[in-house]
Every structure is written in structure tokens, then in C-alpha cells.
Symmetry: C2
Subunit: 601 residues, 2 copies
Amino acid sequence: MAQLRIGLAQVDSTVGDLVGNADLVSRWTADALEQGCHLVAFPEMVVTGYPPEDLVLRRSFVQASLDALEALARRLQDEGAGDVAVVVGYCGRSETPSPALGRPAGEPQNSAAVLHGGRVVSRYAKHHLPNYGVFDEFRYFVRGDRLPVVRLHGVDVATVVCEDLWQEGGPVRVARDACVGLVVCINGSPYERGKDDLRGPLAARRAAEAGAPLVYVNAVGGQDELVFDGDSLVVDADGTLVARAPLWEPGLMVVDLELAAASDDGAGPVDAGDGTRMTVERVVLSTEPLAPYEPVVPGVAVPLDDEAEVWGALVTAVRDYVEKNRFRSVVLGLSGGIDSALVATIACDALGADRVHVVGMPSEWSSDHSVTDAEDLAQRQGLHWSVIPIGPVVDAWLGSVELTGLSVENLQARVRGTTLMALSNEHGHLVLTTGNKSEAATGFSTLYGDSAGGFAPIKDVPKTLVWALARWRNRVAAERGERPPIPENSIEKPPSAELAPGQLDSDRLPAYEVLDAVLDAYVERDRGRAELLQDGFEPQVVDRVIALVDAAEHKRRQSPPGPKITGRAFGRDRRLPITSRWRETAAPTADEPEQARPEGH
Amino acid sequence: MAQLRIGLAQVDSTVGDLVGNADLVSRWTADALEQGCHLVAFPEMVVTGYPPEDLVLRRSFVQASLDALEALARRLQDEGAGDVAVVVGYCGRSETPSPALGRPAGEPQNSAAVLHGGRVVSRYAKHHLPNYGVFDEFRYFVRGDRLPVVRLHGVDVATVVCEDLWQEGGPVRVARDACVGLVVCINGSPYERGKDDLRGPLAARRAAEAGAPLVYVNAVGGQDELVFDGDSLVVDADGTLVARAPLWEPGLMVVDLELAAASDDGAGPVDAGDGTRMTVERVVLSTEPLAPYEPVVPGVAVPLDDEAEVWGALVTAVRDYVEKNRFRSVVLGLSGGIDSALVATIACDALGADRVHVVGMPSEWSSDHSVTDAEDLAQRQGLHWSVIPIGPVVDAWLGSVELTGLSVENLQARVRGTTLMALSNEHGHLVLTTGNKSEAATGFSTLYGDSAGGFAPIKDVPKTLVWALARWRNRVAAERGERPPIPENSIEKPPSAELAPGQLDSDRLPAYEVLDAVLDAYVERDRGRAELLQDGFEPQVVDRVIALVDAAEHKRRQSPPGPKITGRAFGRDRRLPITSRWRETAAPTADEPEQARPEGH
């Protein structure tokens, strides 16, 4: 056996910031060196940030990634970290053509390098490319078919990338054939509710397949519609969890492992067990095991409950969108209702009260409590509060254009949206949109009105979870001896858009418990009408919900990004045509035929 | 040799409209039967419409496609067309697992069936799946590895699908090995400028590879961001063009071919020449060649010039978006400038004057000619014309919120956008957005202002082409002896947003000839900064344009769909992160650091 001290650098890189990302690697490698690490692993594509999307199609970008990698190897050596093996993800280029894919050499690859002694000592390209959900990796990359095995202090180490763990066969199988002592998997694995419950067992299964301990290092931080949760972990060869990093916290986790000493020098092509062949390559850095030393005691983070996990996702997403896009402040409308109250609280937790501006925009249909509840929240949290009544502008409009009914409702929402955009233009705030997923799904929002803004923090949060999060956040405050940040009245009152007298959401939608259950089945699990009826939902509820969801596609197409927290978020994760006559139901529901259509278009 | 009369049904199906699409197949098959066709071919996925995007992930949808296919076979028999071999595209399901892709049996496939005698007599699944540009077919489909060869009146016919023609090897190679007498390729090939110039040579090359004539039938019509141009054609085995259908016109093209009589019964697996193996299967419908008959004389459509081709794309896209989404009318703002003048003219050509509503919305900064030129256009074309001055609403706003400079400019644009949306809500019009590609690229538009709307007809049309199209359309009118629809003054005056006194586009942008050339290189051809300098563009122009394009990503993410006419349209075709610090240039240009950022967010 041979010892190695491994650092898992769970860091937050920024797409396109090759300079900043190199600084990040340099800084955390210095930290790992100080803690005596022999190997430190960074997340998937840490050099470029992940996912860079179509930037990969630009040759200048891929070249910059390659140049940055070489420069980073030299820099780490110059900074005295040349003896540490540093595993980083970057955007590489294929060295040989891929005839099966009709792609020449020089195509981009999602790659992992080992840096050591001032040089790039090995390059691996991701073998399994995800092309589902939010992922389009066949668009960008060609798969790799080589597995370099790097001998470090007498231990053979194989590096794989993210999806390589989620598919059967491939490099993990080949790593076993190559008798490696350790598998390092670098990841850009986006958060989804409960995904952490899958990662542990998956890593355990793959470690068993490899016959070696597995080090899993994941990114943390937000990138447009995605948020990475970290949750880096280490499992032993028998699948036992050795160490686990907390969600949502950048940091370096240090683990000492007792690993099998290298015993095999076999190289060359082998069957990868997935219909392909891969080639094992050997790289030798140092063959002598280290002198025995006292291991550090690894930490295992306590799992978060569901609300805490989601809260971390939303706060991280907002903070990173604001910081990475260099906004100093945010602005949002506060209606006194639960959605905007929750978004304000997320923003305050993410940025601090002084960077959050909230505006009450009452109309003649607004209840008294709409302003008092909003002001109550602003005072509890110390946010910048102002009131801009929309009446004068709405009246001026109604003097110019003759409007009735729903048109007047939408007009009010658009006057509010435009007011927030004007404040954004004048003061440089980012506008946060306050719509939830149930609303986005059913089209109960006004395009360019309440849906206007640059970022939509709770876009993927169903309404029932909005309430649960609000109650959870208040409970946490109470447990800390703080004043709950969200007024009880905002949580408890019946939801209403307040765009017409006495209006309630329940006039037009099923109860949210029912609605969210149908939406979960129809949107997130692609259940058809017959399957929804099998699930036990009422036919008229199913038909109503389906009709609403289908008719709102054009609104969702124009909505701002927001963090994915469910199995199927609106956005890159769900790509439906706007022009579609496919209806799971035979006909539009009778009571409100295609009402959502003119409302949005 | 043996004769066959082939019908190429260049039709416009609708995504999700399985009933309507079956009617379409029935109607055109009856027409083909009447004209004596022995085989009629419809476009790719005509049964479901194309591309159905994530509808394919819903089992109910795939099952509906399979059921519709079986029903269609029976129906054609019942309607007396059982003797005609009918080739249709549909969404199928794989019968065997794809181990290399880790996919089980029952996964969706992009399929082509031959219907005959009331039955589905063969099923082929697309072998080459496009996963670039606007295509995500690895997301949806598993590739097929079988090639059915159907013997009809003594001729062996192989059917392939679209991308199968654009890649080397695969089913065309296998068809040659199987000694087929005819290759039928069914397509959903979206329009791009000049793509028709590629299709002829491509079809000729593939016919030579197959050693047999090739029938290429393409869809016509609009689907969200795509517009299909038709351009169906037939080439002989030596590559000679035999027949070609006009662009933009649904119809049946009938061609008689002298084909090699079947001479081979070989079946089983063969090397497809692309790193895969495919299996030839034989289906025999009728072995006796037809008695000799007099062939019809095929037509070869005259190629359109570039402007006519693009005009057809824009008119088709608008018409289909409006009709397929069941709008009765459209509304747009007329500024007196060229962009809105062109969009109004496209809409009038697409829908007729009575369905087009145009609104002048002058402000205090509007020139006199802004209203007179707009009214002139409305009168020339007979559109519904009204004027709604925005002053009173803007004034009401400025009384509520303190705004300066750019914020006031944006406010004016948003008052106009909201006015159009209010008219849409009140009267059910679809709002057409009038922004061009140069504007979308550089972010010279206001989110929720001039960019508001349901469909953006000239979203992918660079400004220089906007002028060329306007001049072309007026010239066509003059040639027909009609009054030119677009006022000369709208074409000739210097472009201005008229959001501040004396404002001109040229104050803030390079000349459009230069701008469009840089955009073509940077956006459409992914040239980096160094390459742009190599191309001979001025460094300060390059840096300015790149900075503007990069900073406007968040605006484009929220823009409505519009038809793709270039090699790289904004939308599904170009997927860039909003949060990105990648800059081809070292720093933002000094004169206006990140001005586009607060304007949009």
C-alpha cells in the first residue's frame, strides 16, 4: 500500500474568465501545498468555466484554453507547487480524427490534464458525453478514447470526467483493467433537488467497478440557468463514504488515502465494455511510495434538509449572477405577496440588505395589506424601500388607448415592469423577476410585465415549495433568535394578482397542491393525458392544466434565466415548439378558450 | 430498365397536428394517384411535423405518431390509393437496444415508412443524426442501422432521410452495395441563403455514389425559427438535374424515370463506410416492370435571385407563424424608418392588407417625416392605420419617476412596446417586432420596448440586406406596373432611433456596410479578434463591435423567434452564455464602457 494526501478543490470558476480561473487554481493549489497535499483536483473545465456553450465553437477560445493550460503548468512550478500533481479541466482539441462521427482532428474535447513539474504531463478527454436535459455535449465535443494512467509516489491514478461516472462501461471499466490505485473524477454536475442522494451510491458503485477509491470533485456556484452544489466526496474501494464536502461552500477538502501500490504496466487498446475500445497509456512521475505519515481525519458534512438545500441553490445562483455580471445592486417589485417576499429575502441573504432595492407599486385594486406587508418586510430586513403608485401612468394610458378587461390587467403589470426597468436603467440595478414555476407553467403572468427582468430566482420553484421555503426561512431565523424576515401575513393570505377587484388565484387555477402535482407529472416527468388519469388526477383538472401549459410556450421563450432546481426546468432543459397543435387533450377547455394566447403575444 | 412515375409532394405540415398532416398526405396522394404516380414521397416527419423538439420525449406523442402511421396506411387503402407506394416521415421507435449509446430498445427514431396495400411495408430510421446549428437530434433519436430495400414494379427503392445525404458513408453507400435502382431522400432541410446552390451538387454527388437516380423531397413552410424552402429535385445517376420544384410553393412535382431493373437479392450486414455496419433488408411488393408508357416532361424551376429567395423565406415564415398559431391579424409600430416599413410590407404580402394593422406612435423627438412616411406607406398598401402619440404617457411617467438620458430613451421605446401589446390584448393581433439582425447583434434595441412582440420577421436580416430587400421589392412592383409599396424617403433617409433630438445611428455605430461585414465574420463565422484583424478590419471597429455583441447576450435571450435565413441566426442556432467574461478584446472600449449592460437588464 502507499499513502497519498489528496485535496478536493471545490471552487467557483467563471465562464470565459481564463485569467481569474487561473488565479483560482493558483491560490487553492498554494493552500493544498501548505496542507501537504500530493495531488489536488479541480472541477470540470475549471480553466474556461463550465459550460462555455458556443464559445467552444470559436477557435480563438479553444486556443486560449490550451495556452492558459500551458501557462498554468509553468506558473504553478514558478510558485513552488511543481511537485504537486494538479488535475484541472479545460477545453482541449482532439489529436486524431473521429471517423465514426465524421469529425477531423482538432475538434474540441472536454478534457482533464495533470500538471506537474511545470508541464502538462497527461491529457484525458471525456469519453461519455451527455446530450440530454441541459447538456449539448455532442454539439461541442468529440469523445476521447485514451485513458492515461499517471504514477505518482507509486500509485497509479486515472482521471475521468463527470458523465463518465453516470454511464456504464468506458473509462472506469478500463481503469480497473489497468489496475489503477485511485480514480479521480472531476465534475461540473448541476444541482437538482435530491441529486446529492444519488451521487453517493453512484460513486460507491463506480469505485467498486474500478476496484479503487474514487475522488469526486464538483464545482460550486451559479452559471446562468445552472447552479453547481459542490458536494465533493471520496469513497473507498468498497464503497464506504470517507469524506464529503458541504453543499454551496467553496473550499478545499483534504483527505489521506491508503492506496494499492502500482503493480501493472500494461498499456494499449482494451474493450471498454460500452461498444468502444480505449487505449491505456502510462505516465510515470514518481515510483517510490511516500514514507509513512500520520493521516488527517476527514470530515463528512451533515446532509441538508430539502429546504436548506434549495435555499442554498437560490442564494448561490443570485449571488453569482449578480457578481459575475458585475452588478452592484438589484431591484424588485414588492406586492405584499409571498413570491416577491421570498425573492427579496433570497436577494438579501445573497447580497446583503444594502444592495437590495424594493418598490411598492400599488394600483387602485391593490389591497391595503399589499403595501403594509411589503413595507413590513422591507423594514424587517433593512432593504431600500420606496413606493411608486401606478395610477397616474395607467390613467394616462387609458386616456390614449381604449382597453377593457384582461387588457387593463396586463397594462397594470406592464406599467410595473417598465417602472422597474426604468429604475434599472437610471441606477444600474439588476431587475429580479418574482414569478414562480407554477405561474410560468400555466402562463399566469404578463409578458414584459411581472415577468420582466434580468434574472428569475424562483422561476423553477413550484408555488407549494415557495410557501415551504418561506416557512423554513422564518423558522431558521426564529431558531437563531432573529426576527423572522417574512411577514406571517404574506405567507398566510390567499394568493392574488390584485389586477382586478377581489381577484384570487383560486378563481382561475386549481388548488396549488393539486396544480403542482399535475405539473410535476406533466412537465417534469412527461406524463401524457392517459398517464395523468392513471395517476388519479381529475380529468377536468388535467385538461385545464395541460391546455394552460401548452398555450404559454411563447411566454416562456422570452423569459429571463433562473436557476434549475428540479428535474426539468423551463429553459435549455425543456425545448418545446411554440408553433404546435399537439394537444394531449382533444380540445381547449370550454370556459376560457385560448385565453393565454392573446394575453401573451 | 423499368419505368416509374414519382410524385414529390413538397408540402407544409404542422408540428403536432397529426390529424391535419394525415389529411395533407391523403389529399396529395389522391392527386398523385390521379396523375398516375406509382410512388409518392412526402418530407421528413410529415406525420408529426418537423422538428417536434421535446414533444419526442413524451411517450404519448411517439405512440400517437405510430398509431397515426398505421391509420394512414389503412386510410390510403380505403381511399383507393393502396397500389401507390407512399413514403412518409414519422417519429418511430427503435426495436433493438443501442449499446454503444447506452440506450435501450423503444427509443425514438427519425423514421421513414413505405405505405402500400393498407400496410406499413418498411420502416427505415435515419442513420446520420445532425447535432449542430439548429439541430439537436442526438437529444431525441437513436440512429438506425438497417436499410430496407423495397421492390416496386421491378425496381429496388431505398429510402434515406435528410442528413444521410450530408455525411460521408452510411445508407447511400449501402444502397450502392445493394444495387438499388432508385434512392428516395425525404427532408426537413431548413432554408439558408444560398443553400439551394449546395443541394444540387450534393444530390448529384450522392446519386453518383449510389449509382442510381436520387429523388430529393423537401418540406415547405415555417416552424418558429425555421423556414423550409422546398426546392425538391431529382437527379439522374450521372448527376444530371432532371427536375426541380420552385422555392416556397407547396405542390406535387411529377417525374417519370427510367430505372435499372432489380438484379440483386443480397441481404444482411455490410460495412457502411463510416465506421458502422448496416443491415440490408429486402421487401418485395411487385417484381414485374410496368408496360412501357409515355413519360411526362419534367419541369425545372428557374432559380430565384438572392432577394427574391429571402423575400419568399420571410413571407412564408410570417404567414405560417400567423396561420399555424391561429391569429387573425397582426399589429406593428410604423416609425417611418426602413425596418418597420419592410416588416409591414412582408406582412401585407403574407396576409393581405386587411389583416395588417400599423400604428404611428410619435414622441416629441419624432421628425415630421416619421409620421408622414409611415402614413404614406399605410396608404400605398391599404393597411389599417392609426396614430397614438406617446407624449401623455411618457409625461405621466416622468412625473412619477425621476429619469435622465438613456433611461428616458428606453422609456419611450417601452411605452411604444406596451401600447402594441395592449392593442394585441384588446384585439387579438399578433405583435410583429421590427428589429433587424445588426440591431440584435449590437444590442441597439430596448428590451420590452422595440423588441417586444410575438414574432420577429427580420430578426436574422442584416441592415444592409434590409435596404436591398426594400429596393428589390419596389423594383418588382415597378416592373409589374404597380406603385412601389415602400416610400422612397423611408429607404433613403439616414437611419435614426429618434429617441433623442437629432439622434442618428451613425453617432453610435460604424457604417452599416462595415458593421455587417464584421458581424458576418464574428457572429456567423466565429472569427476571433486576431482573425478579424487579418481580414483587414480596423482594430477600433473590431473592438467596438465585439464589445457590443458580447454585452447584448441577455437581450437576445429574451427576444421573440424569427426566421433563420443566414448561416448562424440568433436563437437555437447560437447558444452563448449570458454570464461570460470571455472577451476577444482585452477591455471594454473606453468611450462607452458596458453601456449596453444597464440598458437591458
